[in-house]
Symmetry: C2
Subunit: 381 residues, 2 copies
């Protein structure tokens, strides 16, 4: 997947940097995550949060979110839709957009598709998302269908605004958005713009998912997300909705499932054909003392606080080559967590993110090996 700030190998997991920081993890550490120290290829930032603080116009004046946070690799911003519906108070939804109050100070704001685009263009991530309505779960068929209709209308308005204003991205026409000599980064090629992805909705109804996918594909966007999942439904339903929706999305464009999931889920969805996923789980779990490890071949979530780790001189995961597992014992990490030391959340987040990235790297290798084998085998279809 070629983006203005670099090429991303898929399937890819994107660490979530809500407020232009992946919680507790410095940018140079993000660049060295994983057993091979290759780091995160692309991270996500939240439009809703950055709009409220420090403000998208401030970030635009400082050159966009890449430059603001000193991150030269690709970035993706969500549309703000999900946060408006999940975090803010006193929402009033109309065809025009959503009025809401900030979760920070109660101040009143209005997001329309046009405004979400304006904010995302100011932030200047490589990938922007159309503004969508996220339906609550569970929701009736009729409610889901009506919401989906609004989402499609908003997608069209998002695209119209985006096409008219995409040249306003802070790094447009700036062939050296970063100082190559100092930072060994890939500068943005002149004339490139952001890519706008659509979001398929349709709740837990396969026929609505199909209709939504078809409507969005007709808009000929450079990538498509599957939204509105992992909102409380059983995992079988999530998998079923992803499988059914993937059938209606073109294979030659990135397909992104938003907000999932556990390590075994992201592996499963990647093998089903999903190209991009993001989730706060690795960092949030890390800050709560929970770490992922492969124990006897099975992905397991360990609670580092447990007494059984008090004198455990092994790493979190004996098979993990991340910078935390190379250096620190479970005993030390347990001590840091028990003593409420800030370093605990940081080190556990770094391990968990590495675990996710390494999982994706392994899936990429295996898919690539399968496809090579397929190319070489005359018997394969």
């Amino acid at each position: 997947m070629a983006l203005p700030h670099g090429v991303v190998e898929t399937p890819v997991f994107m660490p979530v940097g809500t407020q232009a920081t992946v919680k507790t993890v410095a940018q140079d550490v993000l660049e060295r995550l994983g057993a091979n120290s290759a780091g995160a290829q692309i991270i996500l930032a939240n439009t809703y949060h950055l709009y409220l603080r420090p403000g998208h116009e401030l970030i635009r004046r400082l050159g966009g979110v890449h430059r603001f946070m000193s991150w030269e690799r690709p970035l993706l911003t969500d549309s703000g839709g999900f946060q408006v519906f999940s975090l803010s108070k006193l929402r009033k939804i109309s065809d025009e957009g959503v009025e809401f109050r900030s979760h920070l100070d109660g101040s009143k704001h209005f997001f329309s598709p046009e405004h979400s685009m304006k904010v995302q263009i100011a932030l200047g991530a490589d990938v922007a998302m159309v503004f969508d309505e996220c339906v609550e779960h569970p929701a009736t068929y009729e409610r889901t269908r009506a919401s989906m209709g609004l989402t499609h209308a908003w997608a069209a308005r998002s695209k119209d605004y985006f096409e008219a204003h995409k040249h306003e991205v802070p790094w447009f026409g700036d062939p050296s958005s970063f100082d190559e000599a100092e930072r060994d980064g890939t500068p943005v090629a002149a004339g490139q713009t952001q890519k706008l992805f659509g979001i398929v909705q349709g709740g837990m109804y396969a026929d609505l998912r199909r209709e939504s996918a078809e409507r969005l594909v007709a808009m000929d966007l450079p990538g498509y997300a599957i939204g509105g999942l992992a909102v409380g439904e059983p995992r079988e339903v999530t998998r079923e909705m992803i499988a059914r929706t993937l059938e209606w999305l073109p294979q030659d464009k990135p397909r992104y499932v938003m907000g999932v999931g556990y390590p075994d889920e992201i592996e499963e969805y990647a093998r089903m054909g999903v190209d991009m996923m993001d989730c706060v789980l690795p960092t949030r779990a890390g800050r709560h003392g929970l770490v992922f490890a492969r124990v006897e071949g099975l992905v397991t979530r360990l609670n580092i606080k447990k007494l059984e780790f008090a004198e455990d001189q092994g790493p979190i995961d004996a098979g993990c080559g991340c910078m935390v597992c190379r250096r620190y014992t479970r005993a030390y990490l347990r001590h840091l967590f028990a003593a409420s030391e800030p370093l605990a959340g940081m080190l556990l987040s770094v391990h968990n993110l590495s675990f996710y990235l390494d999982t994706m790297a392994r899936v990429r290798r295996e898919l690539s090996a399968d496809s090579d084998a397929g190319d070489k085998s005359p018997a394969s279809p």
Copy 2:
């Protein structure tokens, strides 16, 4: 200063790692602090805290605090005395020692000079400190004199216990305390032991300071600290006490002023002949949004939260070459702090620690140049 885990260039500033972690800063970052990325030469850990949690016997079983926290360079532990007197509750002091209640859970404990030594030998830092009584400030001459007497008796008992048990340090006789191949560390030379430093007390009374220094020097310890300063007295008094005490301490042994200070203070004391200093200020200030910078040649403390930094694209300190100033703007750091992001405290701590280490590195260079010039000049005394 040659220590079991390496040679330390003096004058040196020692970051404080209270609970076997310099708050918010990972060990690999500690190793890269400063403009030249040379990192911290030696750090401090707190005996009182590690005794309570995770417990010194646990750390002994895991090979000592170096191995426990994965830090191969020199370490120093204080005696626990200062924390017993400042943090714990319901102290009962006798000639024998101090009974106190834990600030964590109220449990009852007893520290004697012998017990402090036992704990410090189990922790296994390169430098241990004698157990001393810290007198409150202000204190009368009589009170200070009596307390000083106790400190001297305790110093003698500390030394006796230490000499009888120093071979019990976890890494004693272990020529490869660390795996050289994996970690490029300096293994401990076989047969080396910790060094036990004395602590000069005497409050704000120069004649008591002299008496205390003479009594301790008579014990022929490998290094001497000046304790009981920076406890609320005016800075001129601190300076005066240091200057007067230094006169009575041998120049060929390390002289350590505990718990100071601001960047200009550590520079001043280093030029007066102090070899070692430690202070929580750089990390504590960092976690509170305060950063040190040289503004128009003067060391200044900036509050990164201030609105004036909201769009400031410069680094914290234009003259600083630390990893934070090389990468992040004041605008971004202010945003992180305003948004209560954990990364803020980490990055500001890294800058402040680098600022302290760079200050000491500059003083070392200047003192060394002065001394070279002195050697070469036939006119110099």
